[in-house]
């Protein structure tokens, strides 16, 4: 008997809604789009550095732009996406870098907690340096 396998079409642009319907795929796409905010924010820092190199007038103008409502709204969005990036990044560290101690693996939750602690420490240091 001849074979005639059927290949189901994959909707290439909407697979995470129409083809794979579990929430985990939408969460994955949410994680991936954090890069847009991180990318744009990085560009903003570079813009700031450029203005800094141009002199005080340019830099003050740049800082004034950051106080506009549009900039504030963007940064609040960027902040939440950056948090999401951090959490999703650190939460998978035990998978990417499992650690053995003696005859057994170090517990994943411990590895995650150490990363969160490092995250908190780095954040506090930066806050302290800027605020002091």
């Amino acid at each position: 008997m001849s074979r005639k396998p059927y290949i189901r079409p994959v909707p290439k642009t909407s697979w995470y809604m129409k083809y794979m319907k579990h929430d985990r795929y939408k969460r994955y796409m949410l994680r991936e789009v954090t890069c847009i905010f991180i990318g744009i924010y990085t560009a903003i820092i570079v813009l700031g550095l450029y203005n800094l190199s141009e002199g005080q007038e340019s830099f003050d103008l740049f800082m004034a732009t950051l106080r506009t409502p549009g900039a504030l709204v963007f940064h609040l969005f960027a902040l939440s996406f950056a948090f999401y990036h951090s959490a999703t990044w650190f939460n998978v560290t035990p998978q990417a870098m499992p650690l053995m101690k003696g005859d057994d693996f170090v517990s994943g939750s411990l590895i995650i907690r150490v990363h969160y602690a490092a995250w908190a420490a780095v954040s506090l240091v930066i806050l302290f340096v800027v605020g002091a």
Partner: protein, 115 residues
Amino acid sequence: MARSHKPIIWGPFAAGGTLAALIMPVLIFVTGVAVPLGILPPESLSYHRAVAFAGTWLGKLILFVFVSLPAWHAAHRARITVHDLGVRLDNIVALVVYGLAATLTITAVVALLRI
């Protein structure tokens, strides 16, 4: 099968992702929320303070790393996301996103060297 050259891209991507995870929330909070809203005093990001920091070699190095690695991370993830969204022009997309990341990095270097 030939070995892939992806490590050249993936190494900085992973490093940039880790760095971004550590510093991005607090940086965005400081420059984008706290200082503009006055939660932190405006002087903390004054021109003179910023120049004093970016004027040292350590400051330049820190700012260079803080910009270049997350930019690369974002670029690579954007490339994958565009692919995930069904665009099948991977070579062109790669050129655009890595080009943007490189442009940001070069601009940062030029600016830092002028400070």
